[in-house]
């Protein structure tokens, strides 16, 4: 804020002159960054490929339709696997993430200097690695299959659920907690009566949202051998069986829409 005294009274402007100049330079730097990044990005681009992209796309699309509906017989089992990977992975993540969230929240952690940083580190580490990369590692360790997929989904989800849940815990109304403590309740009872009821809506929303995301993520885990419908997708792409690829896309799209619908209904019922 800049208020300047003038002969006829104070003048108000939002920014002082140095602030305005700093802001202008900020925008200039952003534009320069964009130009440089664009230059670096397109340096190795072979433009001939880009120019005939519409032709290529039309050609591919021509080979993709109509979908090979009969291939559906072979998709039911992988589809069921995919849903199971997402659901079991989410459940496993809940079991692991809830304690981590309570250890990470400033108002429930037993030790802000030692335990909290460790819990936060677990959350950050989990969030920084994509489920596909977790799966890649786990397939190497556990061998290909559903188990690697479930654990990969769980490992990625711990950070997501843990972070959102600990933020919800930090935002609770402390007076309700104080009131329960004032009755002579022990720490576990304070948790059960004072804190848990307050975070239940957030908890339900977060886990359902994550389950929804996990359905989508588990469709690609098969690409690296961690089970589910991604395996069929990879096989079909490698075999240039484009009509099968189309069918898989349709199946994935339908599943995601259904999971979206289910989670919306459950969320409405719980909150």
């Amino acid at each position: 804020m800049a208020i300047r005294q003038a002969p006829h009274g104070p003048i108000w402007r939002k920014r002082t002159t140095p602030q305005s100049i700093a802001l202008w330079f900020g925008w200039l730097l952003l534009v320069l960054l964009f130009v440089l990044a664009w230059e670096a990005m397109t340096r190795n681009q072979i433009w001939a490929f880009v120019w005939d992209a519409p032709e290529q796309a039309a050609d591919l699309f021509g080979r993709m339709v109509p979908p090979r509906w009969s291939y559906m017989d072979q998709l039911w089992v992988p589809l069921w696997d995919t849903i199971n990977i997402a659901t079991l992975g989410t459940l496993l993540a809940i079991v692991l993430a809830v304690p981590v969230a309570f250890l990470a929240a400033r108002n429930t952690t037993p030790s802000p200097l030692l335990v909290r940083p460790i819990a936060i580190f677990i959350i950050v580490a989990s969030r920084s690695v994509n489920a596909l990369i977790w799966a890649l590692l786990l397939v190497a360790i556990l061998g290909p299959g559903l188990l690697a997929g479930i654990i990969a989904i769980a490992l990625r989800s711990i950070g997501f659920i843990g972070k959102l849940l600990y933020e919800a815990i930090e935002e609770i109304d402390l007076r309700q907690v104080e009131a329960v403590r004032a009755t002579g309740a022990g720490p576990a009872q304070v948790l059960d009566y004072g804190i848990v009821p307050q975070i239940m809506p957030a908890f339900a929303g977060i886990t359902l949202f994550r389950w929804d995301i996990n359905i989508r993520e588990s469709t690609v885990l098969g690409l690296v051998g961690a089970g589910g419908i991604g395996l069929q997708l990879k096989a079909s792409v490698d075999g240039l069986a484009w009509p099968q690829v189309t069918l898989i896309f349709i199946v994935i799209l339908t599943t995601v829409i259904l999971s979206e619908w289910v989670s919306a209904r459950v969320r409405a019922a719980l909150i």
Binding site: Q176, E178, A179, V180, T183, G184, A188, Q189, Y193, P197
Partner: protein, 274 residues
């Protein structure tokens, strides 16, 4: 019964909230604690059940020195002190019954409370209390479905469910309308009389304090500046507690004050906030 001896609280920010407070409250006495915002009223009652840790001084409940108790001893002692809060502090997403039974948490094991299986005597007593505060038909409603006055009644019932010996009451009427405020204050007085409970009631409404309290303690900047009957609250005393203000003009607090203007109803309700 409750005895404070040189109670001092200095917050970590350096603010001296209470300095050398000494006070004795016999069984069955209902004491109003009045004073301006920031005088240390809330801090004082929170020091008694040690939701706020006193910096120095001692507090006795009968022969038990509260300020020396360990964690377990403190939890047991808290069962004997029921607390009622300014904005009810009910657990909003639990039912009225669960809120009431949470007053029994100090008496039941964690597992019984987790599966909500309370002793039949506790549940019977909870129903009796609900009936006493007039909320029988709301037992299974969620607390956030009740009105302000109803919530405060649940708050009172929760405190009574503890079978306490003393009530610590923090601004019970601060978020209620004048009529409901008076009903709540009357209920508090009645339940204290029925059970022979002592109470410390933080209250900023001088007129309510005068009407419903047996004894008034005036707090200013963390020190007691008045201790006596409600009748002793003269304009001079109120000035001592709250600072300079034309006390006579706003109420019937002075015998030399002007008589009520015609056409303006002279009910306490209309002069709620001083």
């Amino acid at each position: 019964m409750l005895r404070l001896e040189s109670l001092t609280k200095r917050y970590r920010t350096g603010d001296l909230a209470l300095s050398e407070i000494s006070l004795a409250i016999p069984a069955g006495q209902v004491v109003g604690l009045i004073g301006p915002s920031g005088a240390g009223k809330s801090t004082l009652i929170r020091c008694v059940n040690r939701l706020v840790e006193p910096t120095s001084g001692r507090i006795w409940l009968d022969d038990l020195e509260l300020t020396r108790l360990g964690r377990r001893g403190l939890r047991h002692a808290r069962r004997r002190m029921g607390m009622i809060f300014q904005e009810y502090a009910l657990v909003e997403r639990l039912t009225v019954m669960e809120n009431l039974l949470s007053g029994r948490l100090g008496y039941v094991s964690f597992w019984s409370s987790l599966i909500r299986r309370f002793p039949p005597a506790d549940i019977e007593n909870a129903f009796r209390l609900l009936d006493r505060v007039g909320l029988m038909e709301h037992a299974d409603k969620r607390a956030d479905a009740l009105s302000g006055g109803q919530r405060q009644r649940v708050g009172i019932a929760r405190a009574l469910a503890q079978e306490p010996e003393i009530l610590l009451v923090d601004e019970p009427t601060a978020s209620l309308d004048p009529k409901t405020s008076r009903q709540i204050m009357r209920l508090l007085r009645e339940v204290c009389a029925e059970r022979g409970l002592a109470a410390i009631v933080n209250i900023h409404d001088v007129l309510l304090a005068r009407e419903f309290m047996m004894r008034i303690v005036g707090l200013r900047a963390g020190a007691i500046v008045y201790d006596g009957g409600p009748d002793g609250l003269t304009p001079a005393v109120l000035t001592e507690i709250y600072g300079e203000e034309d006390w006579a003009a706003s109420s019937d607090l002075s015998d030399t004050g002007p008589s009520p203007r015609p056409g303006v109803p002279d009910t306490d309700e209309l002069v709620g906030a001083l």
